[in-house]
Symmetry: C2
Subunit: 150 residues, 2 copies
């Protein structure tokens, strides 16, 4: 595992990130890996925002994991800054080898460097293994996450 | 209810917003309304970020509600843009009169104008009335929200 690099994503990583998003059981129906145009456009919007940190984990030149870290300044909790982790995906070849844990631990350390007081994320209620994973890493599943599709 | 105005918060609203945050049962232990300096500093950080929309509801010149709307561009869901609603508070004098519903409906419409495909929020698992409220407004409580204090 010495050859693993966690680094900011670039536009060149977009196809590999989309492949990871689409390989997910919940993602398969909502991604379009054969039409990358909307993803490149979205990557440009993210790149223009200094508070968005699209990230990849690369092993032997191959993208094997991804997540997005977002910084949100706010007033509550004495003006606390929080980060939000979204779109965490690990390549199926890499499951169970600790990569997920390394990637989330990286995101927590990066959040600390970015001045965050709190890290948060939501996980679909059906992903029971993921919940145990986040609890082992010190997260508390104290909230219900609500979504409204527009 | 005709005199209600929902508008962007300004630094002048900070004391009233903090009073609302501190009046909340979960907020009372984690806010410091007698020391506003960290809140003014946080408001400056938010004002410097075009994707943060601290918002107040004002009736007869008095702040009676608040929320923060944040825009997050991302790759997942075909490059979807999502908004996150945080720090929703309604003055105790105004509960049960539909103000909460107006404020969230405003946030959903504003999210649409900002180009969002998805609106999301988390609510502490203990706030059972709030969960019913969000479900009535069309939200689905499909996720578990995890937090890690740094």
């Amino acid at each position: 595992m010495n050859d693993l690099v966690i680094r900011p994503a670039t536009p060149h990583d977009v196809p590999a990130i989309v492949a990871l998003l689409a390989a997910d059981p919940l993602g398969v129906g909502r991604e379009s890996p054969d039409d990358l145009a909307p993803y490149y456009a979205a990557f440009e919007r993210m790149a223009a925002d200094p508070h968005q940190h699209p990230t990849v984990a690369v092993r032997d030149g191959r993208v094997v994991g991804t997540l997005q870290l977002s910084v949100i300044h706010g007033l509550s909790r004495r003006g606390a800054t929080r980060t939000i982790i979204e779109a965490v995906r690990i390549h199926s070849d890499e499951r169970g080898n600790g990569l997920g844990s390394r990637l989330i631990t990286w995101a927590v350390e990066e959040s600390r460097s970015l001045g965050a007081d709190l890290v948060q994320l939501t996980s679909d209620a059906s992903r029971v293994d993921a919940h145990r994973f986040y609890e082992r890493l010190g997260f508390t599943g104290s909230h219900i996450g609500f979504k409204l599709q527009l």
